[in-house]
């Protein structure tokens, strides 16, 4: 008989995830007077935010004095092909500078301009140099600054290496979560009147990804299971430049900062091919455009020996490269035996970011489930159909803070919820079930098959037949996952086979939402490109695809997005001089 006992812990605000959004949310909630408990799957400070390299976008105007929030707003909307939440884009552009400056007051160190202010580097599809950065390890700086602030914030407790497997509800409200401690497999029931999802993306559903093992889409799955709506799940960003060779490193991110610092993309013939795809912005076009361009070059037979493009920064001074791109220099030297000050890098698109996720209110990060909030990559809306580089780090700070505050307010208004024991028992049964199937299928095998399905059938350029096949595979995998085991050993102390079985359940929800939404969006927009519907379709221009749990399973419906107010429309149209040639075609 399995040990189904559990420890109970109550708190005002339960934050799930300790990347940038989770930590910023926790600090905000505690500052508003709430008792806060942060749970995270890894050790503190290891969250995927740490991998962000290039910088955080904020219209500080330190390098280009013409920059302002209106320009940042317009760039974000334009990059997102106008299906962004305009209100989120507005709030983000207006508040990002405050958040960056605040981070500096908390001890973050940024590279400086010659005048002594926070330096800003150019990045793809940002009109002005806008990314506050420190070399190419801005994510680490953000994580460490928040981490040091967090551990000295009264009222915050952190439970590291704890995985949440189910959200609990009480009278239709979010009321806490069931979790297990990875180290010993013991169960914990958290009770809280407010829950903030800050779990990041789901990049691990693909084979070639820049994402860490943690990015398994836990937040969308946890929310979906208790009725939260998801949105824009078809919008998955391929970062144009991941490492290609050797195979062991395939997918590891090569920062857009390389192009920001002047790196050039060439095909095997030495041609700067971006000329044909976006002659104005060239290498600094938006990520969707650059990723498709590299893809097209490879398909046309002009790719590098290992199926990518060359990214060349050798025309810059070696000392400058080592100072501005230190971790890229180190990464290529150590892992690929390439000295980037002397040789070009070989790069190809890699899965990087999920624009879609839990549908939230712009001001508060509140979901449609009372008491449940979301911020950061797990939430949707800000980035629309394509995220601009640098907008995610500022997203974490701006909306992490807002959601944390709102969650604290929600907790202050409500009593401590009571969760029915039957609900907890059922969640525990699901959590422990793989341990009772020593001969069940290996979760690693199922995860591998899922990654192959997404990689093959939801690639950069999609089509109906492929998407249908992919969906069928995912549905079949879901049935098999119901009966999967741990791969063999059934101990509960740090058993990665068991952990993987839990991750798999989350990943499958994100994958199903991706395929179903991608089938419905019969056009090409931003990151979602279809060979059978290669153009922008005005009928989809005002529409977000919303995924929800319904009686017959997962449903997808088109929801008209809120009309952009006239003054903001003006801001966008002024900056909207023209589409790129690719968009015109």
């Amino acid at each position: 008989m399995a040990d189904v006992s559990y420890e109970t812990v109550d708190t005002d605000v339960l934050v799930i995830g300790a990347g940038g959004a989770g930590m910023r949310g926790a600090i905000a909630a505690a500052s508003a007077g709430a008792r806060v408990l942060v749970v995270c799957k890894s050790l503190l400070g290891k969250a995927h935010t740490v991998m962000a390299e290039g910088g955080m976008a904020a219209a500080l105007g330190n390098v280009a004095s013409l920059d302002n929030w209106e320009a940042h707003f317009a760039d974000t909307m334009k990059g997102g092909k106008l299906i962004n939440s305009w209100r989120m884009a507005q709030i983000h552009a207006q508040e990002a500078p405050e958040r960056v400056v605040e981070l500096e007051r908390w001890g973050a160190v940024f590279d400086r301009t010659r005048d002594g202010w926070i330096h800003q580097r150019p990045f793809g599809a940002h009109t002005y140099p806008r990314l506050a950065h420190i070399g190419d390890r801005t994510g680490l700086e953000l994580i460490r600054s928040l981490q040091d602030k967090l551990v000295h914030t009264d009222g915050v407790e952190v439970h590291m290496e704890v995985t949440v497997t189910r959200l609990l509800t009480s009278e239709g409200r979010a009321a806490g979560a069931l979790a297990y401690r990875r180290a010993d497999g013991k169960l914990v029931v958290y009770t809280a009147p407010a829950v903030l999802l800050a779990t990041g993306g789901a990049g691990r559903i693909y084979r070639v990804t820049s994402n860490s093992w943690e990015c398994t889409g836990d937040g969308p799955a946890l929310g979906y299971e208790i009725g939260a709506e998801l949105q824009d799940c078809e919008m998955v960003q391929f970062h144009p430049t991941g490492m290609v060779w050797p195979p062991g490193v395939r997918g590891i991110l090569v920062t857009e900062g390389v192009r920001g610092e002047g790196g050039l993309l060439r095909n095997k013939d030495g041609e700067r091919f971006m000329e044909r795809y976006d002659p104005d912005r060239m290498e600094l076009s938006s990520r969707d455009v650059v990723a498709r361009a590299i893809n097209a070059e490879v398909i046309a037979g002009r790719g590098t020996p290992h199926g990518g493009a060359y990214l060349d920064i050798t025309h810059k001074n070696p000392d400058y490269i080592r100072r501005k791109l230190p971790s890229m220099y180190e990464q290529f030297l150590k892992l690929a035996k390439v000295d980037i000050t002397r040789e070009p890098m070989e790069v190809a698109p890699t899965i990087h970011y999920f624009m879609g996720g839990v549908r939230v209110q712009a001001e508060t990060g509140a979901t449609n489930v009372p008491g449940l909030f979301a911020a950061g990559e797990v939430a949707s809306g800000l980035h629309g159909a394509n995220r601009l580089g640098g907008n995610s780090l500022s997203d974490l700070l701006v909306f992490g803070k807002r959601a944390g505050q709102a969650a604290a307010g929600c907790a202050a208004d409500g009593p401590m919820p009571e969760v029915e024991p039957a609900q907890i028992d059922q969640a525990i049964e699901t959590l422990l079930s793989p341990l009772s199937r020593p001969h069940g299928e290996s979760p690693y095998k199922l995860q591998g098959e899922l990654q192959d399905a997404c990689t093959t059938y939801a690639p950069i350029i999609r089509d109906e037949a492929g998407l249908k096949t992919g969906l069928d595979i995912v549905l079949e995998l879901m049935q098999r996952a119901e009966l999967c085991g741990t791969g063999g050993p059934t101990g509960r102390a740090f058993n990665p086979g068991w952990h993987t079985a839990q991750d798999l359940r989350s990943m499958l929800v994100s994958a199903e939402a991706l395929f179903r939404s991608a089938l419905e969006r019969k056009e090409s927009r931003g990151a979602h490109a279809r060979s059978d519907y290669p153009k922008l379709d005005p009928r989809f221009a005002q529409v977000n695809l919303v995924v929800a749990r319904s009686e017959g399973g997962m449903s997808v419906r088109a929801v008209e997005n809120e009309a952009i107010p006239y003054d903001l429309t003006e801001i966008i149209s002024q900056s909207f001089q023209r589409y790129t040639p690719e968009e015109m075609s």
């Binding site: 001890g107 390890r137 680490l140 740090f494």
Partner: protein, 247 residues
């Protein structure tokens, strides 16, 4: 051409364990972490290991490879020939297999007073004008990815198990990063000399050798901190002043 590598991995927990050999097929460019994850996915699904980014940016996959503290994600299998051993870090208690209990480090971090600018600077945006040269020194320390390999290799913590007397190189660097930040206003010297135990460090520089971020922990962090201590505690004029005031 080598097609396989024998990877000997520690399997066990706090109560003990053994080295188990797994034969792993080599892929070009494979790192030790790839080999360990291959074993996990194909042979030993419960093989416990920590990792995250697989790109030497998060500092999760620390272990001792052929006895040397390293990040597994940054150690090409090809560097080791036909066999290699992987053990958990020795300085921290084993939880399971390659996973150790590093929570002590997080406790130490909490005891270090955080970044504290002066009230005046907090209310004056102009005060935050800093030249690149002002921040460059701190930037080196802030590269730390908290892999704790320096803690693992430190004699004081490892051989002598004096976690009660010394915070270890990681936190000397943390303190140095705060103390040398142009806008920090706190004085942590009594902490450094006292509870943090900088006197325990006998400057063998092993920590610098294993740092994957190439931070010159001893030369640029610990020694300057020691020199500042000397200024306070061994300055002859201050010594005389203390004597005269009877302290």
């Amino acid at each position: 051409m080598i097609n396989n590598v024998d990877v000997r991995v520690f399997r066990g927990d706090a109560s003990g364990g053994e080295m188990v050999t797994y034969q792993v097929p080599i892929r070009e460019g494979m790192v030790v972490l790839d080999a360990v994850l291959w074993i996990q996915a194909n042979v030993a699904p419960d093989l416990a290991v920590r990792w995250n980014c697989k790109a030497a940016k998060c500092g999760s996959c620390s272990a001792e490879i052929d006895g040397f503290p390293r990040l597994m994600c940054k150690s090409p299998v090809a560097d080791y020939g036909t066999e290699l051993t992987v053990r958990p870090m020795r300085t921290f208690p084993v939880i399971r297999d390659l996973v150790t209990d590093v929570s002590w480090n997080y406790e130490v971090n909490k005891r270090i007073p955080g970044f504290t600018p002066s009230e005046a600077d907090m209310s004056d945006p102009e005060a935050w004008c800093m030249q690149q040269e002002d921040v460059d020194r701190v930037i080196e320390f802030r590269k730390c990815i908290e892999c704790f390999l320096c803690q693992d290799v430190c004699h004081v913590l490892s051989n002598h198990d004096r976690k009660d007397a010394f915070y270890g190189p990681r936190f000397m660097i943390r303190i140095a990063g705060l103390e040398m930040h142009p806008k920090d206003s706190l004085d942590r010297r009594s902490l450094v000399e006292g509870e943090a135990g900088i006197g325990m460090c006998n400057v063998t520089k092993c920590c610098t050798e294993v740092c994957p971020e190439h931070i010159k922990i001893t030369d640029n962090g610990i020694i300057p901190l020691k020199e500042r201590m000397d200024d306070v505690y061994f300055d002859p004029i201050r010594w005389a002043a203390r004597k005269l005031r009877g302290r």
